[in-house]
Symmetry: C3
Subunit: 142 residues, 3 copies
């Protein structure tokens, strides 16, 4: 049984949904030593989030951005938390709907994702900047 | 400390929300050996999801299906990802709103769920077929 | 490697979103002994939920309550599950959208949250009463 834990930084991205599987894996060569285990990813922000979704079609990502903007719009008349810009309060709501962490099984040194699954960074701010994650890997070694 | 990990297949179900607690438990006799631990379930698909909800009333499940179809409808004019059918893009969005994994405490050989809690398979496609899960059990043995 | 697991009770709160980070930490002095690990929190109810969000502004919490009530309203004509009050079926849907568990990294004896992150209890019932959580802490000791 081993534990690895480190803080990693994802590159700044524009508002929207982005596949970051390779960027995350490149930060985590420790994955290769795990026979059976779990990768836990936690984003240390309240206006960006993590999810798993389709890893090929850019249309899925842009459709998700459009639909989340309809389901959780800017400038609702009942928002009182407006000081940080019209994108801020919707960003907080989206972050809770999508979630701030992921847990992914590790099997024989690799993330055990389905064929069409990728890790998404969901950037809900217009200018969110680089985002910090805590990655925790735990499991049995090879 | 022990680790068990296996892929399991849930039977095909029609579109909607389904209680699958017993089906999952029947695949996992290893639960009985764990004194304190965690069951991690991960669905290897992007158009079906897992959640915890009310385990008795069929009306809760059908009301959830109806409300998710209202909140995330088919045929929105701004969807560009339409090639795989009108149920496909909403299925991806629902999958991210509900989530692709569950973590449930194990206590004295049993899932430590509340009285009214069950594991739901949320099938978002009209014909999703059988769904693959990765189950990872880790914890202290009895 | 150590495992701690206990059931804790959060004080009853009115319907809405509430920061409970300190209340949770006060129940878990065991956190201080963990060098690298995970805190898993699981709520044993289907009409209340847990999330991570902004820990300072009361407006964020009340805006979230207002927006969730718009996104998942009471008294929709298609709800069949109405016996337990008009707040009940929306509470079940909100619980699945937000989720019944949290996993938070522990680093050097403390929850490794971002500066602005706190643990929210999301109480979806008008009179939900005290809520039970199962807290599981696992990791390497100092």
């Amino acid at each position: 049984m081993v534990w690895y834990q480190k803080e990693i930084r994802l590159e700044a991205r524009k508002r929207g949904f982005h596949v970051v599987t390779s960027e995350v894996e490149n930060h985590l060569p420790e994955l290769k030593s795990i026979k059976k285990g779990i990768l836990h990813l936690f984003i240390k922000h309240t206006s960006a989030s993590l999810t798993i979704n389709e890893n090929v079609s850019p249309d899925v990502r842009s459709d998700m951005e459009k639909h989340f903007n309809k389901m959780i719009p800017e400038n609702m008349p009942y928002y009182d938390h407006n000081l940080e810009g019209s994108d801020d309060m919707p960003a907080h709501i989206k972050a809770s709907v999508l979630g701030s962490s992921l847990t992914i099984p590790i099997t024989n040194g690799e993330l055990n994702l389905g064929t069409w699954q990728g890790i998404y960074l969901c950037e809900h701010r217009n200018n969110g900047g680089s985002r910090k994650l805590v990655a925790t890997i735990f499991g049995e070694t090879m």
